[in-house]
């Protein structure tokens, strides 16, 4: 079914119309901004700061473990630092960073002007920031959680973790969870209903498929972490419930089941957007569309589904019935198939493309090396007898850093380099970029490869020191050395970014000659993204010459208007007026934050949050002029 494009009207966006668009799409207000580019950049920069904090925590840990029987950090402080490291990386860096990249890129890739719910987007950012401020603000008052990033009871319960540290941890999760859910809902609706006309399901960029799968995973997985951390643990700690208290009918394993029902999908929530980035980078730098589009989409969707059926592999040592465990071994191994299919398709794409070895493509090759190795150790861990030796040792630490850093961080850094021209309007320095890549790659392998060996040689996780006599010292020394190489690689990257923002060569709209829509507008894009929204007829619109492609006309420029298209065929269905700048998302987030901060101390905090939040929401939705939308 082709769309009724005509050659009647000439598309010339006169200067007055462009100025009108610019005025309507202004985003000057710091607390009231609702444009997705600005909010996306905010998410990215804030998440990056948390990456640096988490990295400093990692360096402190590695310094302490660099020598046996070291006395740099005592047990209390070390336990706090490894808890902060894991919590910061998982909740305050990884998910928000992936969300932020999505918030920035998805509307551009789909050919629209903003996400479906811009105020929700702003609200989500402020809640993310509120959560980070809670954790680190409390840390400044020496109220620091120390029960690990997944805080198993009874250790994390009221009897064995008195004080407010774990309460702060549990409630911080509420913030980051709300933030992720907001972005998930808005991205899902944007991808499903606001695509450029002609962008059928079969033509959606792979990165948007990844964000769609990830958004649905967030929707079904995140509630579980709220139940585990807030309903079970926080209530057991503060108001005397007995969910995980074995003395009164509760069960510590209930917490583990519900937490890992979230926790396993969580790592795929972090990893799947990165897979989308890999495809985007490969397509641009191999100068061809990825091979096997349908298989890749099925693999992504399959990955999303199967990820929900694996959680018990975190609990193989808890003494569960054998027959149940065998199923989880099978499922945990089978998910390697979905990842494997994608790796094969990418390699096939690289074989048959014309490669241009940009820094971004370096990071993709680094991803393949590191992630596939992590996948291999994952297959080892899926096997129960092997897991019973390796679980809770540094072997697992090595595995998950290989899959998370290899699988998510390397593609992310590739993405930074690939989309840097689009974000900033300048080219990033390729030599510094490649230098930072090699430092990160070599440093990473030096740090984490030895940890496989020391784990199998008996070193458990979360130990603040270890005896000389066990011979673990040399491995740990090497790992500490590698950690500093990673740190220097990070410094080179930051220096490259700062320098290129000012001194990089000016970038035009499409410096990589890529095929997707984000490259069809200026670098950086104007707040309204495209002067006229595009009409597409291919997966790579910029590589396609077709009478079925063109521009949308007839949307008003004097208000923020976008197009709603049908779910399957992306046929235009209605126009959609989206809100402009407004302070109410910020006010609502402040209201919820005050109440939730208070709830760390008293249950009444939830009522405070509800009242203040309600006031914010009323302001948010209260009718404003103009009331009627004249066509």
């Amino acid at each position: 079914m082709s769309l009724p494009l005509t050659a009647d009207r000439q598309v010339t966006h006169e200067a007055p119309e462009r100025d009108l668009l610019k005025r309507v799409w202004t985003n000057a207000g710091w607390f009231s901004v609702t444009t997705h580019q600005r909010l996306g950049k905010r998410y990215i920069i804030t998440a990056f700061i948390f990456l640096l904090l988490g990295g400093i925590e990692a360096l402190l840990m590695r310094l302490q473990l660099g020598a046996p029987e070291n006395t740099l950090l005592g047990p209390a402080r070390y336990n706090q630092i490894f808890t902060l490291h894991g919590t910061t990386m998982m909740f305050l860096f990884a998910v928000p960073m992936m969300e932020g990249m999505g918030v920035y890129l998805v509307p551009l890739l789909l050919g629209t002007r903003n996400v479906a719910f811009p105020r929700l987007n702003a609200f989500g950012y402020w809640m993310f920031l509120g959560g980070g401020l809670l954790l680190y603000g409390a840390a400044l008052t020496n109220t620091i959680p120390d029960a690990g990033w997944f805080a198993y009871p009874p250790l994390s319960g009221p009897q064995f973790s008195p004080g407010k540290g774990v309460d702060v941890w549990a409630q911080m999760i509420t913030f980051t969870e709300i933030s992720a859910l907001c972005v998930a809902v808005e991205l899902a609706v944007t991808i499903l209903r606001m695509r450029a006309p002609g962008m059928t399901l079969n033509k959606i960029p792979m990165y948007c498929w990844a964000m769609l799968v990830q958004s649905f995973m967030i929707i079904f997985a995140m509630p579980a972490v709220m139940v585990a951390s807030t309903v079970f643990l926080l209530n057991d700690r503060t108001i005397g419930t007995h969910f995980v208290n074995p003395a009164e009918g509760g069960d510590p394993l209930l917490y583990q089941h519900v937490f890992w029902f979230f926790g396993h999908p969580e790592v795929y929530i972090i990893f799947i957007p990165a897979l989308g980035m890999v495809t985007a980078i490969i397509e641009a730098n191999a100068r061809r569309s990825v091979f096997g589009y349908p298989a890749m989409v099925l693999a992504l969707v399959g990955n999303g589904f199967v990820a929900f059926g694996l959680w018990v592999h975190h609990m193989f040592a808890t003494g569960l019935p054998q027959i149940g465990e065998a199923y989880f071994t099978a499922a945990s191994m089978m998910i390697a198939i979905t990842s494997g299919v994608q790796i094969f398709c990418w390699i096939g794409t690289l074989w048959t493309g014309r490669l241009r070895l940009t820094t971004a493509l370096h990071f993709v090759f680094g991803f393949i090396f590191i992630f596939v190795m992590g996948g291999m150790t994952g297959v080892i861990l899926a096997s129960i007898p092997l897991d019973l030796q390796a679980h809770d040792t540094f072997f697992v630490v090595a595995h998950f850093h290989y899959v998370l850093i290899g699988g998510a961080l390397f593609p992310l850094f590739g993405g930074f380099h690939h989309w840097f021209p689009k974000f900033t309007g300048r080219m990033i320095d390729e030599r510094l970029g490649k230098l930072s890549f090699w430092m990160l790659f070599i440093g990473f392998n030096l740090t984490f490869f030895p940890l496989h060996l020391v784990g199998l040689n008996g070193m458990p996780r979360r130990v603040y020191t270890y005896p000389v006599s066990l011979g673990w010292g040399p491995y740990n020394q090497l790992a500490t050395f590698g950690a500093f190489i990673i740190a220097f690689g990070g410094v080179v990257f930051i220096a490259n970014v700062m320098r290129s923002r000012k001194l990089g060569a000016a970038a035009d709209a499409n410096p990589w000659d890529a095929g997707t829509l984000e490259w069809a507008t200026t670098s950086p894009p104007p707040n309204y993204n495209f002067e006229c929204l595009p009409v597409v007829a291919a997966r790579q619109p910029l590589w396609t010459d077709s009478p079925e492609q063109g521009s949308v006309v007839g949307l008003r420029d004097d208000r923020r208007e976008v197009l709603v298209t049908s779910f399957l065929e992306a046929k235009p269905q209605s126009r959609y007026v989206i809100p402009g700048e407004t302070i109410w998302p910020f006010i609502t987030a402040v209201g919820f934050s005050i109440g939730l901060y208070y709830s760390v101390f008293s249950f009444a905090g939830y009522y405070v949050a509800s009242v203040l939040g309600m006031i914010g929401l009323i302001g948010w939705f209260w009718p404003r002029r103009p009331l009627e939308l004249r066509p």
Binding site: M376, D392, G458
Partner: protein, 337 residues
């Protein structure tokens, strides 16, 4: 590895590995063999995948098989068909390999985790505490039940069933040289089987983060020949050695009169505390404070004088001992063989 570490220590008894890569019993051996097989296969697959990924890097300038991509940036149909075949075959091989790995894992799981044969076995009950191990050798005859701490002794060639639970938080019982780990969970009893194939010393460590001194919650599992084990058990069944001189007599008196007796038991005396480890045969153990220090008078003196200095956060109280009572107390405790 072992010899390097061993060479650095005077007391060879403490020189044993805590390693899954150095199995000393049938369970750990089965796991080790499976690990070697997995490692070999997966390394091969990894190398193949990486080579396949790296080839395009070297081909790109030579342009072999690289058709000039048409305006749509799409290779020809023939190329795509061939790629489809290759990816399909690779996926099918992957599926088959994974199925095989699942089957092998379940099979080795059954073999390594269950009892290997019916019949005679020894039962040892282990209870995790912050940060020490309560050990109880079960016996049908109540008079032959022995309570100990932080060390487990077993005869070579006999199946041992470990029944584990916890008094406080979740711990994990792990002696890598003999078997995988099993979590110790309050209000639950988990079991695992292990069997030593040779005499020796196997170090174990708690493998579930359990608080401040998780890093210092280790244990020794000592495997004896059956005759030696019997001798050891016979000794354990006896009550504590009586003091043999006036210093030890004084030491015992200090122990019983101070707070020590509130937490610790010494069978044969009136000390019957249940809070801390049983000390009846304390001097026969290799280490103090759950594997933290070698067991000798100097270390023991330091431990008693200031436990927080050695194991910050430990629940062992700092019991004041008058200066003139210290040596007699140490003499007494080190006489409890």
């Amino acid at each position: 590895m072992r010899s390097v570490a061993c060479g650095m220590l005077a007391a060879s008894a403490l020189c044993a590995q805590q390693s899954a890569l150095d199995p000393g019993g049938r369970n750990a051996q089965a796991i080790h063999s499976l690990l070697v097989a997995f490692f070999g296969l997966l390394t091969t697959i990894f190398v193949i995948v990486i080579i396949m990924a790296a080839v395009p890097l070297f081909r790109r300038h030579r342009g072999i098989e690289q058709e000039p991509l048409e305006r749509t940036h799409q290779p020809g149909e023939a190329t795509e068909k061939r790629l489809g075949l290759v990816v399909g075959i690779a996926t099918a091989i992957t599926v088959l390999i994974l199925i095989a790995l699942v089957v092998v894992s379940v099979s080795v799981g059954k073999a390594s985790q269950g009892p290997s044969r019916p019949g005679k076995r020894m039962t040892v009950e282990v209870t995790g505490n912050q940060w020490w191990w309560y050990v109880r050798y079960y016996n049908d005859q109540a008079s032959r039940i022995v309570v100990d701490a932080n060390e487990i002794h077993v005869p070579v060639g006999e199946q041992v069933m470990i029944r584990g639970t916890s008094n406080d938080v979740i711990h994990s019982f792990w002696v890598p040289g003999l078997q995988g780990k099993r979590d110790l969970i309050p209000s639950r009893v988990n079991t695992e089987w292990l069997e030593a194939d040779r005499p020796g010393y196997f170090r174990g460590q708690c493998a579930e983060f359990c608080g401040l001194q998780h890093a210092h919650m280790a244990m020794w599992l000592v495997a004896h020949s059956p005759a030696d084990f019997q001798a050891w058990m016979d000794n354990q069944l006896k009550p504590a050695v009586a003091p043999s001189n006036s210093d030890e007599q004084r030491g015992q008196q200090v122990f019983l009169d101070s707070a020590c007796a509130i937490c610790h038991t010494i069978r044969g005396t009136r000390a019957a505390g249940q809070v801390g480890p049983d000390l009846t045969h304390f001097a026969s153990r290799l280490t103090i404070a759950a594997g933290t220090l070698p067991n000798n008078k100097g270390n023991l003196g330091g431990w008693i004088a200031d436990p927080q200095n050695i194991k910050p956060g430990t629940h062992m109280a700092t019991v004041p001992v008058k200066a003139e009572d210290v040596q007699p107390l140490l003499d007494y405790l080190e006489s409890l063989k």
